[in-house]
């Protein structure tokens, strides 16, 4: 049986206490919420924190209403009145069980993923490890100085399209930033979260409509190999992409192009091409790399057509295998 390494377990009751522990322990400590991302990584020895600081007893992280506590489970998000893109994204994460465990904050902080990295210790030893952990070379792009592990969160592109803001709290300060500014395009240093900060809540401004389209092999379990989110906001259409870089990001070019335009078939087609041109998947996840790039425009079309109000139920059933 795969087992966790030894660690010390702390379960603060308040945010302040958690922040204090985190500040005190330094980089040897890691936060654990749902555990669905961290624990498999620990079992594979991708990380071995000395101290685990559990967030599950902190009620401040479970707010549900105008802002979403980072500690809400994905199931709670699916059942909330959150905008559709976020509910669709949360609903397509992993499986029923994992959504009952994993949290919104955890999904936003999800470790970047790569077929050379999400492997047991023994496997990684057989390739002499990789740039992201214990090794020298990025085996996906051997000339790369940067780790190209893929951002694999579903909720982040949805929330970026929705212009969401996240609050980060440490023992010394707190700040609120746009989610799109929360990420670096670096597979190792992928979050702008400081090690002593805790992601506490997510606020989402109202939108006229939104949706999320996820490409994956199966109807459950799988991480996205492409995520397209679109939202109709006061400033116009916002499209964000997930799983095609080390961070989720806004597709500025497409959003600028769409500014003030009606979503005609021609406009959608042009915008979809702009979206696809920004999708740069790497050969480190499921499904054929070139095919994933080939279908990016089609997925952008799905998103924009659904945003326009087209009846996409049949397509959604085929792609997502469920109706939400």
């Amino acid at each position: 049986m795969m087992r966790l390494p030894w660690f010390e377990y702390r379960a603060p009751k308040t945010l302040a206490e958690a922040a204090r522990i985190l500040a005190g322990e330094g980089p040897d400590a890691m936060l654990i919420a749902g555990g669905t991302d961290l624990l498999p990584n620990m079992k594979r020895r991708q990380m071995a924190p000395k101290v685990l600081v559990s967030l599950s007893s902190i009620s401040e992280l479970k707010r549900n209403g105008s802002v979403y506590g980072a500690g809400l489970t994905l199931t709670q998000i699916v059942n909330s009145d959150a905008p559709r893109a976020l509910r669709q994204a949360a609903h397509q994460v992993a499986t029923v069980h994992l959504r009952n465990m994993g949290t919104l904050g955890g999904n936003l902080c999800l470790d970047t993923r790569c077929n050379y990295y999400n492997q047991n210790y023994e496997w990684r030893k057989a390739i002499d490890f990789c740039l992201k952990k214990d090794g020298e070379v990025c085996w996906v792009a051997t000339a790369s100085k940067r780790c190209v592990a893929a951002s694999s969160t579903d909720c982040a592109p949805a929330l970026i399209a929705l212009a969401a803001r996240v609050k980060l709290v440490s023992s010394e300060s707190e700040r609120e930033i746009l989610l799109e500014d929360f990420y670096n395009n670096d597979g190792i240093d992928y979050l702008k979260r400081r090690p002593d900060e805790i992601l506490t809540q997510i606020s989402v401004p109202p939108v006229a409509g939104s949706c999320y389209w996820k490409l994956r092999r199966r109807g459950a379990f799988d991480f996205p190999v492409l995520g397209v989110a679109a939202a109709m906001t006061g400033e116009g259409v916002r499209i964000a992409l997930g799983a095609v870089a080390s961070r989720p990001f806004l597709v500025e070019k497409a959003n600028a192009f769409l500014k003030g335009k009606r979503l005609t078939d021609e406009v959608i087609d042009e915008a979809a091409k702009l979206v696809a041109s920004r999708a740069k998947p790497m050969d480190n996840a499921d499904l054929d790399l070139y095919w994933r790039k080939d279908v990016a425009a089609e997925f952008a079309r799905y998103a924009l057509r659904e945003l326009r109000g087209d009846d996409m139920r049949e397509t959604r059933l085929r792609i997502a295998r469920q109706p939400l």
Binding site: N115, I127, W291, R318
Partner: protein, 806 residues
């Protein structure tokens, strides 16, 4: 029939739904220690030095074992005893076990593994059959037939070139079937313990306790009488637990040395390394047909990627050609095969053992033939179906064949005639058929003993205990045993207690593989039950004052007209008359007519038949394939328990569809300038893709009953055959939907999209292998088919030309 054919809870059903079924890893014994294996991180290397001192000194560690502790090799086939429990000097794939640590708990054992330092000297790696053909050196095994070619086989049953000359059309097609693995949800586990008499007991999630028993005696150099192997119920097998495993040998040795129970449970990554799954096979089919749609001859060449060890591979390789003749009339047949060694986990038997690969090619090629001849694919198949009770070109004796009815069923139920080639663009139907063994005719090691034995114990209370070496792997073998005994003795199957899969307690049965259990164990059970029934009838007849042969056994009673008594009363009388009641029954398959060397693979007491129609929808923009429904009809001979039979068929459909669309055991070689690594790409349940409940279509299942006289009450197999037609039916449905041919598995959306792009450019709308390498196949063994004279023997060299001329 009072029991057979009626839907019923399986006899072991209650245990399975209450969590009481005890799988190997559920066994906990006092003072039990835990073992973990250290595996090679190198794909091909020589071990220069092992230092295990630190691991031995680590607190909580009880024992460290390495290759020097195991001087004797093992292997499932007598011809390939090429594995060591722990590799002493030569490692052949990433994952090859090299050392073992036994400690107080699994965590400690795992920590200690990292303290063993091994110095390796890397060797050049072979990653594919092409590389194996091009690089005879370095040899992965010294005993291979030619360089890194493990086995070469060639047979010619009648002159196929001559048949092609007389054909109106000759089709030549290449196909590739990627390797894939069994993926039982239960990871392999074993517990070994020494009992009060100093004897060894091994509990293991194995499908073949008898073979494990033999291998343990050989490897540990112990008397078989001192070893007892108990096959725990398997949490899924599918062929993945039919080989002898390193960890079984090592854990047994550890328990013997320590005098304490030791458990090992592989993690998921290790299960991928143990593998023994579907061989990747490249195939070239040449098939001649006449204008009216008759097959004239077939020449099949296969190139089989074996991985790092022999395992079942020699048999698997035979099976890539042996059953091509069992479905349609094929007057002449030539088959050439080669299996190569590569530096990857060893391949072996997975559901369908060696036959799904050529079946995929054959059934797609038939679809092409039908189109070219302007025939309906169902019509073409119906026209060519083999006649029941006939001999094939390669001298297999085939019994009942319910295939025509199977085809009619799926054609009617899918509304084939109104929908095939008539559906809107992007939607289509595909048909394919298959045939499979009901048990291999010959045992794995040559002997003339029974292949299955059943022992019955009956007493005055009316309770019946059935002992048999057969192994419950989920397929329902205990239920088959109870049902057959109950049918003969006229009692309730729930009144039969099954003791199975225990080499110390049960008569030998060779194991749960090759779909042999229902037929072989079933026949042995009938044999034993009939003997008991005769005794009981004789005793009861005296009391009831009728002649014994007039007595019926049913519903727990022994009776003639109004004269009756309970089964227990009758058993008591028999016990009084004959003493303690017991009987043994056994079964040995009929001798196969083929006499040539190589004729041992393919014969079976009977063959099951299946037809399948798949509906597919293809999105032209993405190549995404959706399968909304599958119709399947399986000739099962006779149904023992329809609930379980349907489950076997639907489980086969599931696995076939999963193989067709996504499953693949594939490897990755890192850039050679920077690394010598050659690793499994995705050894995880997340990244080795298998269908979830949301990906599984509706399945319409029909059981066709064409009883076979060699089978118990006519019952044939259902666990493997129904998988065979699914993959080609998917490919054929995609062709009907969008007019592209995907000639390799799995059929992923990128391949479909690539083929659609080719089609739109006016290029051949096909994705599949383009080239078949030159393989040094030997001169074929020439065996005239039955209708061209001969007696099933090969023609000696001198007469070869003459035979050809004739």
């Amino acid at each position: 029939m009072k029991v057979l054919g009626k839907p019923r809870r399986r006899v072991d059903g209650r245990a399975k739904v209450t969590g009481q079924t005890r799988f190997a890893d559920d066994i906990v014994l006092p003072r039990m220690l835990h073992m973990r294996l250290l595996r090679s991180p190198h794909p091909h290397a020589l071990i220069e030095n092992i230092n295990d001192e630190k691991a031995k000194a680590y607190p909580g560690v009880h024992l460290v074992l390495t290759g020097k502790d195991f001087p004797v090799t093992f292997g499932i086939l007598p011809v390939s005893q090429d594995e060591y429990p722990l590799a002493p000097e030569h490692v052949r794939y990433v994952g090859d076990p090299v050392a073992a640590v036994v400690a107080k708990d699994e965590q400690t054992a795992t920590e200690a593994l990292d303290l063993i330092s091994i110095k390796y000297r890397s060797l050049k790696t072979i990653s594919s059959p092409e590389e194996a053909l091009a690089n005879p050196e370095p040899r992965i095994h010294a005993y291979s037939e030619l360089g890194n070619i493990h086995r070469l086989q060639a047979f010619e049953f009648g002159d196929v070139e001559d048949a092609f000359k007389r054909s109106d059309l000759v089709f030549e097609d290449l196909f590739f079937y990627e390797g894939n693995t069994h993926l039982p949800i239960e990871q392999h586990a074993a517990v070994a313990a020494v009992d009060g008499e100093g004897k060894l007991t091994l509990w293991s999630s194995t499908q073949v306790p008898h073979y494990v028993h033999r291998a343990l005696a050989r490897v540990l150099q112990l008397s078989p009488a001192g070893i007892r192997v108990i096959a725990t119920p398997n949490g899924g097998g599918f062929g993945g637990k039919t080989d002898i495993c390193n960890h079984e040998m090592v854990v047994a040795k550890a328990a013997m040395l320590l005098g304490r129970p030791v458990k090992v449970c592989l993690n998921r990554e290790e299960v991928f390394y143990l593998h023994r799954g579907r061989h990747p096979v490249l195939m070239k089919f040449r098939t001649g047909v006449t204008k009216d749609g008759r097959l004239a001859g077939m020449h099949l060449q296969t190139l089989v990627d074996g991985g790092g060890y022999g395992g079942y591979g020699a048999a698997s390789t035979f099976y890539t050609g042996a059953l091509q003749t069992t479905t349609y009339e094929l007057p002449r047949y030539k088959f050439e095969a080669a299996r190569v060694f590569t530096n990857k986990p060893p391949c072996g038997p997975k559901r369908g053992h060696g036959t799904p690969q050529p079946r995929f090619g054959q059934e797609i090629q038939l679809d092409r033939i039908a189109e070219q001849l302007g025939m309906d694919p169902a019509e073409l198949r119906l026209k060519n179906i083999l006649k029941p009770n006939s001999l094939t070109a390669n001298w297999l004796k085939v019994g009942s064949i319910g295939l025509a009815e199977c085809i009619r069923q799926v054609v009617e139920r899918s509304d084939w005639n109104n929908r095939f080639r008539k559906m809107p663009a992007g939607r289509g139907l595909g048909l394919a058929c298959g045939a499979y063994l009901c048990g291999a005719g010959l045992p794995i090691y040559w002997n003339k003993m029974p292949q299955s034995g059943v022992q019955l114990l009956v007493d005055r209370s009316g309770q019946v205990t059935a002992f048999c070496g057969a192994t419950e792997i989920g397929q329902g073998s205990d239920d088959v045993l109870a049902a057959i005994v109950a049918e003969v003795l006229g009692i309730d199957p729930f009144d039969v207690r099954c003791v199975t899969g225990d080499t110390g307690m049960t008569p030998v049965d060779l194991g749960s593989y090759s779909s042999r259990v229902t037929v072989m164990m079933g026949n042995a059970a009938i044999d034993a039950a009939n003997k008991i029934r005769l005794q009981i009838a004789e005793a009861a007849a005296e009391q009831l004052e009728v002649s014994p042969e007039r007595l019926s056994f049913a519903n727990g009673k022994v009776f003639f007209e109004s004269k009756e008594m309970t089964f227990a009363q009758a058993a008591g009388l028999a016990e009084e008359k004959f003493g303690t009641l017991g009987a043994v029954g056994s079964y040995k398959p009929p001798r196969a007519p083929g006499r040539y060397k190589g004729a041992g693979v393919g014969p079976s007491p009977a063959y099951s038949y299946t037809a399948c129609v798949v509906e597919a929808e293809v999105d032209p923009a993405t190549g995404w394939v959706t399968v909304p429904k599958i119709w399947i009809a399986h000739d099962i001979g006779r149904t023992i328990n329809p609930v379980l039979a349907r489950g076997q068929v639907e489980g086969s459909v599931y696995m076939g569809l999963s193989e067709a669309l996504m499953e693949e055991q594939v490897f990755r070689r890192l850039p050679p300038k920077l690394s010598g690594a050659l690793v499994h790409k995705i050894p995880s349940l997340l990244e080795y893709k298998s269908l979830t409940s949301l990906d599984m279509p509706e399945v319409d299942t029909v059981l066709v009953e064409d009883p076979d006289p060699n089978c118990p009450f006519g019952a044939k197999e259902a666990g493997q055959g129904p998988l065979l037609p699914v993959m080609p039916a998917v490919a054929n449905a995609i062709y009907d939907a969008v007019g592209v041919r995907i000639d390799e598995l799995p059929i992923t959306p990128d391949k479909v999209l690539r083929a659609l792009e080719k089609k739109s450019k006016g290029e051949p709308a096909r994705v599949g292998p383009e080239h078949f390498p030159a393989v040094p196949y030997p001169e074929p063994l020439v065996v005239p088919p039955p209708w061209e004279g001969g007696d099933g023997n090969a023609v000696p060299g001198a007469q070869r030309l003459k035979a050809k001329a004739a």
